[in-house]
């Protein structure tokens, strides 16, 4: 499990830094971080499908929901698991997130070990 590829997508580099720290403490090794949906999409387009994505919703350039819509449209990495990682507890956004098949969890920031374990339980590899 510790060698799965994890992609962090958040425009706040401090959030990425903190999430990475939590994941490294849990011995995950393959972690990549980008700061918007467009950069994440570019990685996918190169044929690198991460096993798990922690995805923020509100981001410049391309936000989380546009990213999710785009990968369905372009049929990219259908097996990829996505966990929304956001500071919004808005019901509207939870409902929207639940409409995407890849989304397996909706987590409120900050990421911690127990939240990661919860995601891993829901993951299908």
């Amino acid at each position: 499990m510790n060698d799965i590829n994890i992609l962090l997508v958040d425009d706040d580099f401090i959030v990425n830094f903190l999430s990475e720290k939590v994941l490294k403490n849990m011995d995950f090794k393959n972690i990549t971080a980008v700061t918007d949906g467009k950069q994440a999409l570019d990685i996918l387009k190169k044929g690198n499908c991460p096993d798990l994505v922690f995805l923020d919703i509100n981001m410049p350039v391309m936000d989380g929901f546009s990213f999710l819509t785009q990968i369905v449209k372009e049929i990219l990495c259908l097996q990829m698991n996505v966990a929304i990682l956001t500071s919004s507890n808005r019901q509207k956004e939870k409902d929207m997130a639940s409409q995407f098949d890849n989304v397996i969890d909706y987590i409120e920031k900050p990421l911690n070990q127990s939240k990661v374990r919860e995601v891993l339980r829901k993951i299908t590899l």
């Binding site: 919004s88 920031k109 900050p110």
Partner: protein
């Protein structure tokens, strides 16, 4: 009947009376002004000649129905494009001894103001949401970073005091932002459905959820719902109201007295009432009667509180047309009397 005639003539509403064939019998001054016609040009004329384009609406059908014995017709949503621009009217049509009376009021300005108010409210809600959310995001980071610094023992001994103050400030901010986000989430949720509820059952649920606090403080609760056992109200609302008020009674108890909470209900002509009385530390209402329901208003600084409970209770109650009366005396206790509004 001179006086009645004067009333009609001077009314700001447009008033006209038609016979059963919808020919005009009587019309008041303001109607003539708006139609830019004289009495002579209008009396005896048919409604179709007087109100251009009325055949294209369903008003004729509605008026005829009233003439033929149907209930009075009332609508707030009659738009008419006339020479003087697009206007919105409220219309009432009812039978009198003289014939069909039609009372029309120009509510264009009112409707415009209403639309503006709705838009302004939406903007303010969105602004509150964005502010609360955008503060929450970096605050979450701040907390995690503080944890990391604590874990790495990264603060020099002489800075320890400053660092602790930083932690306290961040904690206070977290409480506030957390509460603010909850309040916004509550206001965003749609009005829940009314249900037939038994006060006793909802009270028992709340009591159960507060069991730990009740036992720890040895609170005595006397509840009597016999005078009004049921209510038609959203369950979550009633639960939240009881929960917040009972929590407050326990939180603000007198340290040297056995805490007592007395709860009862009443039924009056205008609806149901819930009265919650405690023997707690009380508040000085004279200095702040209107503001105790304000968000983040705190009556006591020595006891931890978010200043959110009463705000939530009050907005729930008011959103259903009810209101709250408070009486309180320092070191005697507080009584909340809640009127739930028209059921």
């Amino acid at each position: 009947m001179k006086i009645l005639r004067d009333f009609i003539e001077n009314s700001p509403d447009l008033i006209s009376i038609y016979d059963e064939k919808l020919n005009l019998l009587e019309i008041n001054q303001v109607s003539l002004q708006i139609m830019k016609k004289s009495r002579k040009q209008t009396i005896g004329k048919n409604i179709k000649t007087l109100i251009e384009g009325i055949e294209k609406t369903d008003l004729l059908k509605k008026y005829n129905a009233v003439i033929n014995g149907a209930n009075p017709f009332i609508s707030e949503d009659v738009s008419q494009t006339v020479k003087f621009g697009k206007k919105q009217f409220s219309v009432r049509a009812f039978m009198t001894d003289e014939g069909l009376a039609i009372v029309t009021r120009d509510i264009s300005e009112l409707k415009k103001a209403e639309q503006q108010l709705i838009k302004t409210n939406q903007r303010l809600e969105e602004l509150a949401y964005i502010a609360a959310h955008d503060i929450k995001a970096p605050l979450t980071n701040l907390q995690s970073l503080i944890q990391l610094i604590v874990a790495s023992d990264g603060i020099k001994k002489e800075s320890k005091g400053l660092f602790d103050m930083l932690i306290t400030s961040v904690d206070i901010m977290e409480n506030t932002v957390y509460a603010l986000n909850n309040v916004i989430a509550m206001q965003e949720s749609h009005l829940p459905n009314n249900e037939y509820l038994k006060f006793r059952e909802v009270f028992n649920t709340v009591k159960e959820s507060l069991a730990t606090q009740i036992n720890e403080a040895n609170v005595i609760i006397r509840a009597d719902f016999t005078k009004a056992p049921d209510i038609y109200y959203p369950q979550l609302y009633l639960q939240s109201i009881l929960q917040n008020l009972m929590t407050n009674s326990i939180k603000y108890r007198q340290p040297n007295k056995v805490p007592l909470i007395e709860i009862h209900t009443l039924k009056k002509d205008d609806g149901s009432y819930l009265i919650i009385k405690d023997n707690g530390i009380g508040m000085d209402l004279d200095s702040s009667k209107d503001s105790i329901f304000r968000l983040f208003k705190r009556m006591h600084t020595h006891i931890k509180g978010g200043g959110v409970g009463l705000y939530v209770v009050n907005s729930l109650v008011e959103s259903y047309g009810g209101n709250i009366e408070v009486t309180s005396e320092i070191n005697k206790g507080t009584t909340f009397k809640i009127y739930f509004g028209d059921e």
